[in-house]
């Protein structure tokens, strides 16, 4: 099966053609935002990090920022730094340059302040925007598509209808040679024994189980009951009683037929030589989780929600599906697919899986999702350490 997308120098294909302005640290966020506001098609990544971080946490933040720049949905990148921050803008730019796409960096200290940096940034971004505007979509095999799977604001309909629906679409994509990522380590607690059986490789299985036990250890170290945080008050109000119940519903996103090829770190890229279904170590919090998968190269996100949520992503289309018919009615503005039809007996789960798959193809080929039309661009980096 062929899709239509933007070919990149390194042989990958984007389903969008974004001009990305990356602030290397929180100190460059305001300047980056102002540049993005002035250039048509440009998007910035507001975040609070990039300085005074250490170790794995520091590396994870760099991996996320460079991963966004490397994502095939991005056609050109301007990195903006203050100049003295922990994450050096030159380092981020160099890493992204390896993809062959146009990349430049500027710093506020070298340009001489806010106004001069914004002016200089707009000149570079406009030059990039001109290059991107001449790009055309070309056919590419569906095996180049990586899907990120998310569930948020879950209720019992997520586990009964919406997540199994995504699972059908994910199985189909993987059977056609594409890749798919299951995420949210917290929402594996209580279901890890079932998912572990689907890792043929013992080393990768071990990595996956360690990720789950590490997250549970972190929760235990707080000294309180996880319930109330996971499941959230909204999950509980919807009818989910425990993290085990939530997890056993969440895991259906991974479908049934495909084996797990491996377990990825947060923001780690799917190995091009070994495509297929993967697990990624992300938190249950939706924005940080989607950000990790997109940093790992996912061009498209499918997102199930029982309670309803508006959120999107700065560079990847996010398709929303609810299994709750009332939620579709109250939040139709934000939700693309009504899986509540299955609960009401109007269609089967297989029909829903087919509808989700068709929507994925049409969105990959350019159809805008509701989150895109409404301008939702939420972005959040998963922190695993302290700021010093």
């Amino acid at each position: 099966m062929k899709l239509m997308g933007y070919q990149r120098e390194n042989g990958t294909y984007g389903i969008r053609n974004h001009l990305l302005i990356i602030p290397a640290s929180v100190c460059a966020v305001e300047v980056s935002n102002r540049i993005a506001q002035k250039v048509t098609g440009a998007v910035s990544l507001p975040h609070q990090h990039g300085c005074c971080q250490m170790g794995a946490d520091f590396r994870q933040t760099i991996r996320t920022l460079t991963g966004f720049g490397c994502n095939p949905n991005v056609g050109a990148v301007l990195v903006v730094g203050l100049g003295c921050e922990g994450i050096q803008p030159s380092q981020v730019a160099e890493e992204i340059k390896k993809t062959g796409k146009p990349v430049e960096f500027i710093t506020i200290q070298a340009c001489g302040g806010t106004t001069k940096t914004v002016t200089q940034g707009i000149i570079i971004a406009e030059k990039f925007a001109k290059i991107l505007s001449s790009a055309n979509r070309v056919p590419f095999p569906i095996s180049h598509l990586t899907l990120g799977m998310e569930c948020g604001g879950s209720d019992p309909t997520s586990g009964i209808v919406a997540n199994p629906g995504i699972g059908i679409a994910s199985d189909r994509l993987v059977s056609l040679g594409g890749s798919s990522i299951l995420s949210e380590t917290t929402e594996v607690i209580g279901a890890e024994h079932i998912l572990a059986e689907r890792f043929p490789d013992a080393e990768e299985r071990g990595k996956f189980l360690t990720m789950v036990s590490n997250v549970e250890k972190r929760a235990l170290a707080v000294g309180e009951d996880l319930r109330g945080s996971q499941p959230t008050p909204g999950n509980i109000q919807g009818g989910l009683s425990t993290i085990e119940e939530k997890s056993l519903g969440c895991m259906h996103k991974a479908g049934h037929s495909a084996p797990f090829m491996g377990a990825l770190e947060y923001g780690q890229a799917v190995p091009p030589a070994k495509l297929g279904l993967y697990f990624m170590d992300t938190p249950g919090e939706d924005i940080d989780s989607i950000t990790g998968m997109v940093a790992g190269g996912a061009q498209l996100i499918v997102f199930t929600t029982g309670r309803g949520t508006p959120t999107g992503c700065p560079i990847a289309p996010v398709i929303k599906i609810t299994g709750n018919p009332q939620t579709f009615q109250t939040m139709e503005e934000n939700i693309d697919i009504n899986g509540g039809k299955v609960i009401q007996g109007e269609c089967t789960l297989d029909d829903l899986g087919e509808e989700i798959f068709k929507k994925m193809i049409s969105v990959a080929n350019g159809e805008q999702t509701k989150a895109e039309k409404l301008g939702h661009k939420e972005f959040g980096i998963y922190r695993i350490g302290f700021t010093f």
Partner: protein, 95 residues
């Protein structure tokens, strides 16, 4: 679709696909179920009697333990079941 959805044959709780009122009677494949209390839509109803600390089964898997005796037809939620995972509040008890 039956308003009471039992997902796995081993399950001792089921999901109410619509709000259920006290005294409502449901005919399931192998049992008759009477709701002992009002249950909100998509929340759970007990299919069997469950003893204190007995496992709660949904999807054929343990989703928690009963904190009190639960009778067939009772509303099952955070007031009468608890998680066994992520219990930092219990860490002291185990030691």
């Amino acid at each position: 679709m039956n308003p009471i959805l039992k997902i796995h044959e081993k399950d001792n709780v089921a999901t109410c696909l619509r709000p259920v009122a006290t005294g409502e009677v449901f005919d399931l494949k192998d049992l008759q179920l009477i709701a002992n209390e009002d249950i909100p839509q998509f929340h759970k109803i007990a299919l069997t009697d469950i003893p204190v600390h007995g496992p709660i089964l949904k999807y054929g898997q343990i989703i928690g333990l009963a904190t009190q005796r639960i009778c067939r037809g009772d509303y099952v939620h955070v007031h009468n079941i608890e998680s066994t995972r992520g219990r930092g509040d219990r860490e002291g008890d185990a030691k």
